[in-house]
Amino acid sequence: MSSSQVKLMIDGNTLEAPRGMLLVDAALRAGIDVPVFCYHPKMEPVGMCRMCLVEIGRPSRDRQSGEFLLDENDQPIINFGPNLETACTTRIDEGWVVYINSERALEGQKQIVEFLLTSHPLDCPVCDKGGECPLQDLTMLHGPGISRFSFHDKMNSLKRVALGELIILDRERCIQCARCIRFQEEIVDDPVIEFSNRGRSLEIVTFSEPGFDSYFSGNTTDICPVGALTTSDFRFGSRPWELNAAASICPHCPVGCNIILNTRREVKMGGSEIVKRVLPRQNEMINEIWICDKGRFAYSYAMDSERLSQPMIRVGGELEETSWDNALKVAAEGLKQSGANLLGLAGGRASNEDLYNFKQLIQGLDGVSMLNDFMAGGKQNQQIGLGPGSNLGDLGVGDAIVVIASDLLEEAPIWWLRVKQAAERGAKLIVANARFTKLEKYSAHTVRYSFGDAPETVLGMLHYVTGDSSLNKYAKVDGQEESARIIKEATNAVLFMGSEGSDSESSKRLVQACGSLLAATEHIGKANNGLIPVWLKNNTQGAWDMGLTPPEKHLAEEFRDRTALYLMACDPFGDNPEMLQELPQDAFVIVQELFHTPSVDRADVVFPAQSFIERDGTLTSGERVVQLFYPAVSPHGESLPDWKILARIGALLGVAMESTSAAGVMNRIAEDIEDYGEIHYRELMNREDQWPPVGGKQIYFGGTAYENSQGIGIRLSSRAQRGEAYEPVWKESPKKPKGEGIRIVPIVKLYDQGTTVLPSLLLAQRIGQPELVIGQEDADRLLLQNGAQVEVQWNGTAHQFPVAIDNDIPEGIVLLPRNRQLGLEMPMACNLTPVKPTSKEKGE
């Protein structure tokens, strides 16, 4: 027995556990439940609710020698204190004797439940938590059968307090355990809710505008041990026991959070199943037991009535609904006739199966297939990404995390959370960006470069690592040397590379520089070391792995002279209406889509595709974890999964493809693509025991997040990990033309105006209108004030936005949230013209 392990006895069972572990954890690991309300395994104990009262006996020790004192039978003398103690705050030691289910302890627990119930309303029948409520469960287990408290003395509080439009508080149900407050403060550092008042009047208030302003607010409803906090989308939506649960993967960002889609049939949908709510599914290597509010609330697009439900073909200039057979025939004919110069363009939100079949079809037709993206890094991720055994949750003291050119909180909130927590555990965080991002608060070093200089900044760090004198011209920003030293000295280092401020050229140079830096500091080919690209779409890495890469030239050039265009899960004409002019008028266009996008308007054949809730498939996260999602509801209209549509066209055109099942496509992928050799659906359904236990019987402990029994996914190994040599290359930066005027840089906002977010009416207030962020100098020069309208011209188009002034933005740069229909994928030059040059002020 090592000295860090101690032996103790709980309810007569002898067990071993690490010294200093909380008694409540040690007991549960040994299979003995200790009832808790305020304790949560992801947070520091506070000992507020007093539910976990147990009897603890400690062996007497000799004062001098520290040896145990023995009684006449040579047994240690055990001293029990006069009071019961809380198991959640007590750290175990050698020789303890603990009673959790003794008469005295049970009596204490019963008294606490009785206290909690004195003013708790008896509205379990109408409470959304009823059926999955820790207080309900623990009352049944530990509570008294009847209450001695006078019903008329019960305290009546407000039943419906909207802490914001997303989370609703029932003050009467609240048992003041502070889990929500502590979650917001300790875990996500958005302390926007607090207790107000004291004693029996203690109540939760929010003091942010808008209320409960946090990207993680929904998680508080999972860990609330009563029905005090509920989400407004599920409010009175259904009873928990009536729901079906399908495992899925969040489609919104490259983190790949594991989720559960709770579905139920509904009368107003004609008795078909709909998604009633989204809950996190535990995966301690990806999202632990949390998800962000976008993942939780932006699901309604999949059930939107605007979805395409029928194939359409263009007849006499108009799109007309038709049968699948006819549409497929028209598409096949069209491709046969004008497929000589075919371009296939796919989006990064399609599944691996879709992307693989897409590649097969376009290749089979001698066309060119591409990924509708500009950011580089997919190849490097295959070479030097994080491999098996990695877990951001393992990073801590001695490790380093670099985040460059990314606003993680907006782009991938759960990565932000895990990076922040790693920094708090002691990992050294380096945040390099051209502007302030919230992650800087936790950074050991901040490197601030000018927009567009990200590759040079990394090369500067490389200079300090290798001493390469040709690079010393790039060593010019504060913090580079220190950062280089931290990365070099770190046991493990992970580098998050984003695309903020990058165009396709500089993104390529940035990833080369990052790869070189990681290679030079020997942070490749090992678990917990390597590159993580922060993609703009959830499955961009999967697309790279399936062999699709971004266009070498600008997309506009790729469109010229094409005779046919095949679009899947992307909307180039919606992203940039100017593209319509680039594609030849007579080019034959096929679109596979969910919605009637501007690209659909240009299409000759339109196929309705299925969304992630209706089908199965796999996604590859930015960390290169392949994960499986399952169908939850029946398909919308006549829609089909993308891979199947492709296979059916392929059949008509003589391109042999797997057409029976998504699992079958994955088998093909496994045969064809080396990295995926071991990946089959059966293996993706792997499960593992995870700590803390959540859901089911342990709902009181970890919350209502679902236990993961449907698959935790497989982490792909990197080439470097398989022993393949990595040749770091980096390119000298081209001489930048001294740009005149102002550059406009697209940035990511979590709640964007994308097709997957806009239909979520619940988030409408949070989405807001895009604002043009401008520095003080430029604002002064143009006589702009906060909120003033400004016209921005770029690439021959003009748009109007209100202005938000940010002192942190350097001169000559304006920021604009990424948005559809703007044609602003990468930074470019722009012109600003104030719409009303402060005439109002002059008039006054």
Binding site: G47, C49, R50, I112, S150, M155, R198, R200
Partner: protein
């Protein structure tokens, strides 16, 4: 009457003037130690003096100081001037009339604890007093008793006043620290104790006003002298705040171990209107009440004897009740007080005080039944020993002891359950 150690203003009228204080040996104690004695030596002197915390718990002060985590700096000294126990008004008099002795005591404590910053946490209602103290602190700074390099030695000291917002719970040391940090006044989990992780998670000494005011004479006159006053285990004098049905209420500084009889009859001139004494609350609302038997009256007021008699000396805010008092009314008032003052952090106290208050209200309104007494006792039992801090326990004491000793007072309000 014995010698006055703390209430020197009664002997020297203008001692709240710095010059008068200096002329009467002021800051002699501080000068004697700064640069001349090591902090450890000062801790040893205080340990030897047997000085015990005057805030209520009576924990030996020197021992408390020796628990400070070694080699962790900065450290803080926090002075608990949140005197909010019903019937306690002793710290107020010290701060009003003899403030420099307190400030010198703070300086000595800081020297012993190797702290450079002290915060006086003043209860909200003492805002005028806080203002005066601020002026006094400014004066000390001007005159070189505070600030950098005191007396040319390596000892810096700043004292700040913080005014609370009127919560009883902030008299509890960890709740006080939370409040001082700007958070909601709620007790912290212990361990870690303030001596390890106190204010801003640094080692912190929290002492009561009266405790620290004892330090200057202990330093100047020695531990043995201090030990010679009071009883063996409770040395020194104590200020007893006497109130209730008493002819001459007020603060009385007497050696620990003085009997209740001496305080009430010799100093307080007995019960007015020739009424008989019925009960004594020896520590405001926070300890069991004692029926005023001859035996109790002869009990010495020191930590051990009062505890043996079935109550606690606490902050020695002694409330005397004569025969006209209905003890059920006292129980009603105390439960009402604790229902109002419970911070709400832990369940038994938050819900239990609310419950007990509601039942007491029914009893007061004549709606109580005999079952209610059993309920009250059982609720009280469910609270005791199950809370984070002592407030929960305190909230039950006057009530349960009242039911125990004076059940007939309750019975008069009760009816059979129908």
């Amino acid at each position: 009457m014995s010698e006055l150690i703390l209430f020197r203003h009664l002997d020297i009228p203008d001692i709240n003037d710095l010059d008068v204080y200096l002329a009467n040996g002021g800051f002699k104690g501080l000068r004697e130690i700064v640069g001349k004695k090591s902090p450890q030596e000062v801790v040893d002197i205080v340990k030897a003096s047997g000085l015990r915390g005057r805030g209520g718990a009576g924990f030996p002060t020197g021992v408390k100081w020796s628990f400070l985590t070694p080699d962790v700096f900065p450290r803080y000294v926090v002075i608990n001037a949140d005197e909010s126990e019903p019937g306690a008004f002793k710290d107020r008099e010290i701060m009003e009339r003899n403030p420099y002795q307190l400030l010198e005591g703070i300086a000595i404590c800081c020297y012993a604890a190797q702290a450079q910053t002290a915060y006086i946490y003043c209860r909200g209602e003492f805002w005028d007093l806080a203002k005066e103290l601020d002026e006094k602190i400014a004066e000390l700074k001007d005159r070189g008793f505070l600030g950098k390099k005191l007396f040319g030695e390596k000892f810096d000291l700043e004292i700040y006043i913080h005014v609370g917002a009127g919560a009883y719970i902030c008299g509890e040391e960890t709740a006080l620290l939370e409040s001082l940090e700007g958070k909601l006044g709620m007790p912290r989990l212990r361990p870690p104790f303030p001596a390890a992780e106190g204010l801003f998670a640094k080692p912190t000494v929290v002492n009561n006003v009266e405790t620290l005011a004892n330090l200057p004479p202990i330093i100047t006159r020695g531990a043995d002298w201090f030990r010679s006053i009071g009883t063996e285990k409770s040395s020194g004098t104590k200020i007893f705040s006497l109130s209730g049905h008493i002819a001459k209420p007020g603060n009385y500084e007497l050696p620990l171990g003085t009997s209740f009889r001496e305080l009430i009859y010799d100093n307080g001139n007995g019960i007015p209107n020739g009424n008989a004494i019925k009960a004594i609350l020896p520590a405001g609302a926070s300890a069991p009440l004692l029926p005023a038997s001859e035996e109790i009256l002869d009990t010495g007021m020191d930590y051990e004897s009062v505890s043996k008699a079935g109550s606690q000396l606490g902050s020695a805010s002694i409330i005397v009740m004569d025969e006209t008092v209905d003890i059920s009314w006292v129980a009603y008032k105390t439960t009402k007080f604790f229902n109002h003052e419970s911070c709400g952090k832990c369940t038994p106290c938050r819900e239990g005080t609310y419950w007990m208050f509601n039942v007491m209200q029914h009893i007061k309104n004549g709606e109580g039944t005999f079952d209610d007494l059993a309920t009250l006792n059982s609720v009280a039992e469910s609270i005791v020993g199950k809370c984070l801090c002592a407030l929960g326990d305190f909230s039950t004491m006057a009530l349960t002891s009242g039911i125990e000793y004076f059940q007939e007072d309750f019975n008069a309000h009760l009816r059979e359950k129908v």
